[in-house]
Amino acid sequence: MAHQKVLMSGNEAIAMAALDAGCGFYAGYPITPQNELIGYMAKHMPLSGGVFIQSESELSAINMVFGASAAGCRAMTSSSSPGISLMQEGISYIAGAELPAVIVNIMRAGPGLGNIWPAQSDYFQAVKGGGHGDYRCITLAPSSVQEAYDLTLSAFELADKYRIPVFILGDGMLGQMMEPLTVSGPGRPETRDQRPETKEWAASGCAGRKPNVVKSFYLNMGDLEKFNLKLQEKYKGIQAKEQLQETAYIDDARVILTAYGTMARIAKSAVEKLREKGKKAGLLRPITLWPFPRKIFNRLAVSDKQLTFLTVEMSYGQMVEDVQLAVEGKARVEFLGRSGGGIPSEEAIINKTLQLLKN
């Protein structure tokens, strides 16, 4: 398949990538600012032979994804913040049943109905688990339209590899923004190998074999604990192998800006301007929010280096808690954030960094 360059929004890029990854089932309910995603799916999913359902609510959408995934199909849903809150019970069940699923959250500002402007205030919900029980979801945070496409392909691969729900966590700006995108097209070999018949655990018809059972219910004493320990082992493996980040100018930096998603692009602009003035600023952008890229923080945060991490978020301080945990007190951690529709400006980031460089 020849590579093709198109101009696309983040929402459309995610939908297109899902189809290119062989997603055969999508259910969702419309909400701004992710409507272009469900719109793209409504138009293109039937053409690719898959199933598109505009469900009556987010609750039914996530439970339909449970069902489709249990049957061995690559399945996805998408929504924005309040809709994702409604899905939490289902996400916990999917995690408990060890099912692969891709869940896209194009975040808007909260709490409550909030408003439709971009925000990053669902970090806790995504990486700490908004539902009940000891579960984790792999969480990927794209910062460009290209990365939204690429990480969605990865999301389906990771979901199948670990039988785990995977979040794509973007914000309204990423969803709405258009950028040139190079599309690899369907048929990336590694994306197509997980057909229902290859999923040995799937409830895909039991002619000639023992029936498979997909459930998250363990009534006998001790069984659930055994299962939970198995899950924890899986999570440890993911933490060891799947941490991803982008870095720029970190080697001699005295202040390292830490931000994810579109916020990281504004931070990167700030870093470039600071470097033009000879100021020692760097950027560390987590791409996987869970597993959080602790290894690089551990490596950089050495007590005698007097390093400062300035975490910038479109929230009032969520990822900053993971930064604090990762540096284990060996570096100063500062925070700059706005939420409710406000975005920390390049200028505000530069001023705060200059102030931190002075003392």
Binding site: K5, M178, E179, P180, R265, I266, K268, S345
Partner: protein, 192 residues
């Protein structure tokens, strides 16, 4: 793109590698269409480009705007905090965005719908009757393409030849619309 065209564009750009453009007006004036069209043209010229629409709870007759960045380098922040060029198709949007213009910025104001803005020190004002020019061509809706012509005539961010090449793709081979939009573009180019 021939050599002359290229040279003209480079000199017109005054060695600038980045253009931050905001287009604004009423809903229905083709603000988003023009923004996406410019972004597409830039992409086809192998430039880096980002397009951010004002999205969501916009209402008919309300203001609409979009921000485009065109660059020779990869674009970090897609936010237009400072604006190099503003195309304001109505008065409220001219008032709203003029304070964010950088020194030396170009300000294109649709004189058919807006008076001359105040406090213009250090700015290049182009006060042109985009809607009237479009109406004379028979369709006020192509005022956005007149504005594009006027903009390209002064800032040479995109090649006229490439813009014309892309029109049939946008208008799905509808020859009437292609012709009308090309005419509007040419009228805009003549405003210099």
């Amino acid at each position: 793109m021939d050599k002359k065209d290229n040279e003209q564009r480079i000199s017109g750009r005054e060695n600038k590698v980045i253009e931050r453009l905001v287009i604004s007006g009423f809903g229905g004036q083709g603000i988003m269409s023009l923004g996406k069209f410019i972004a597409l043209c830039a992409m086809r010229e192998n430039k880096f480009v980002t397009f951010i629409p004002a999205y969501g709870a916009e209402v008919r007759g309300g203001t609409s705007h979009c921000a485009i960045i065109i660059s020779d380098k990869a674009i970090a922040s897609a936010q237009c905090e400072e604006i190099d060029t503003l195309i304001a198709m109505n008065e409220p949007s001219a008032i709203k965005f003029t304070p964010r213009l950088k020194k030396g910025a170009h300000l294109f104001v649709n004189a058919s719908m807006a008076g001359k803005p105040r406090r213009l020190k250090g700015l290049h004002l182009h006060h042109i009757r985009f809607t009237d020019i479009a109406s004379r061509l028979g369709n006020a809706k192509v005022a956005n393409m007149v504005a594009l012509g006027a903009y390209i005539a002064r800032k040479k961010i995109l090649s006229v030849r490439n813009i014309i090449k892309i029109l049939p793709e946008i208008f799905k081979q509808n020859t009437l619309l292609i012709h009308l939009n090309e005419q509007a573009l040419q009228e805009g180019l003549k405003t210099k």
